[in-house]
């Protein structure tokens, strides 16, 4: 398989949030603001890279019957390390993410990649797959967080991961017109539902568009071929 294909498939074609609908708990819980969503995305990226690489490294040593407990222990260890590092260096982000940082352990996305990709492929391919999946996750949480924060507060407020101070604030429309339900819990479900509907509508449209373009290209190539032959 081509290397860039692995990354693109992980990020878009098998996008965990919008296409596969896996691991939605952190997606819903940490997207009330752009900065916490980015923090969650980076934590996920770190965990998924290390877990994919480690599982792929020892894939010949794991007996098939107990692979799930083995993977759980590997992932739990990685998450414990990430949690400790984040508490030490990025205390405000760790406090914001709270329990959702610990429960990366039981995130289906990480399991799905370890089980369906890292166990069967080489170390470098698994690394690329982890990067693709992680970037796809980051893009989706950022999209959802942006939509929620803009509609819900009328501004994008990026906070520092270390002490929670606002780094920059971009106001798009005045706060009195904001629909504050979207930064609350119920708004998370509604906004994600709307975005999923939008994407399920767009994906077939884009793919038929691509197909049509490919057909047109083939036709053009054919006609030019015929023309050159005629000459």
């Amino acid at each position: 398989m081509k290397k860039n294909r692995i990354i693109l498939d992980g990020a878009f074609k098998n996008n965990s949030t919008f296409i596969l609908l896996l691991g939605l708990c952190p997606v819903l819980a940490t997207t009330s603001g752009v900065s916490s969503a980015l923090g969650m995305g980076l934590a996920m990226l770190a965990v998924i890279i290390v877990s994919n690489v480690v599982v792929s490294l020892i894939r010949h040593l794991i007996p098939n019957e107990i692979r799930i407990p083995v993977m759980i222990v590997i992932i739990a260890t990685i998450v414990t390390v990430v949690e400790m590092l984040m508490k030490a260096y990025l205390p405000d982000l760790a406090a914001n993410l709270g329990v959702y940082l610990s429960i990366i352990v039981v995130n289906c996305v990480i399991f799905a990649r370890a089980e369906s990709f890292a166990l069967k492929n080489g170390v470098f391919d698994s690394f690329l797959d982890a990067i693709g999946t992680g970037l796809g996750f980051i893009l989706s949480v950022l999209l959802l967080a942006l939509a929620r924060e803009v509609v819900g507060t009328g501004a994008v407020d990026f906070k520092s991961f270390i002490n929670g101070e606002s780094l920059f604030l971009l106001r798009i429309f005045p706060e009195q017109y904001a629909i504050s339900i979207f930064v609350e819990n119920s708004g998370a479900f509604i906004m994600l539902g709307l975005l999923i509907a939008l994407i399920t509508y767009l994906v077939p449209t884009i793919s038929t568009w691509n197909e049509n373009r490919a057909k047109l290209k083939a036709q053009k190539a054919l006609t030019t071929n015929i023309e050159t032959e005629a000459k």
Partner: protein, 196 residues
């Protein structure tokens, strides 16, 4: 009254699904039919209750005296994985029809965030004192399980009704409409906030 407060808060106000976004996979996946939603909630309730009690005991009677608090994630997840294995064997042996209808969602209880979060919740320590005594912990794990079951079963009835709607736009069929319904339920549950 403290116990009643803990129970009501965990069932209605801080509902695990609607206000803490836990267990969404099972919530969306196993609720096409009310019967499988009930089966799923019961299986999950068993794991949540026993997982919570065992994790609490393990944490405060073994890990804390040995200064091994940092191992709690690994320890809890192993407890939960073995419990799920046990429940799976039990259901397969005694209720094979339920075993078939739950399918992949039964082993996935291991990776259901509700179980691990409840276990982590009861092991929380603030200012050197455990947040829960043994009694309040038991109430809390029961109430969390009931909260999940209540919302999941209600949701599955709505989903059953909605399955036969002819006029829904194609893009909204399936998960999108399910999430919108969950959002509306969450708004409804917001009303309970004033209760406490």
């Amino acid at each position: 009254m403290n116990i009643l407060l803990i129970a009501l808060a965990a069932i209605l106000v801080n509902n695990v699904v609607l206000s803490r976004f836990l267990g969404i996979c099972g919530f969306l996946g196993a609720t096409k039919k009310a019967t499988s939603a009930i089966g799923m909630s019961l299986a999950l309730a068993f794991v949540v209750i026993f997982g919570g009690i065992i994790s609490y005991s393990l944490y405060f009677f073994i890990l804390v005296p040995l200064d091994l608090e940092f191992l709690r994630l690994v320890a809890f997840i192993l407890v939960i994985a073995s419990l799920v294995q046990f429940v799976e064997m039990f259901i397969k042996r005694f209720v094979p029809s339920l075993y078939k209808s739950l399918g992949i969602y039964l082993p996935l209880i291991t990776t259901n965030c509700v179980v691990l979060t409840v276990a982590l919740d009861v092991a929380a320590v603030s200012g050197g004192v455990p947040d829960y005594t043994f009694l309040t912990m038991v109430v809390y794990v029961f109430a969390s399980a009931v909260g999940f079951g209540l919302v999941t079963v209600l949701f599955s009835y709505i989903q059953e009704r909605l399955a036969n709607t002819p006029n829904m736009p194609k893009a909204f069929q399936g998960p999108a409409s399910a999430l919108l319904i969950a959002g509306l339920m969450a708004i409804a549950f917001l009303g309970f906030k004033g209760m406490i």
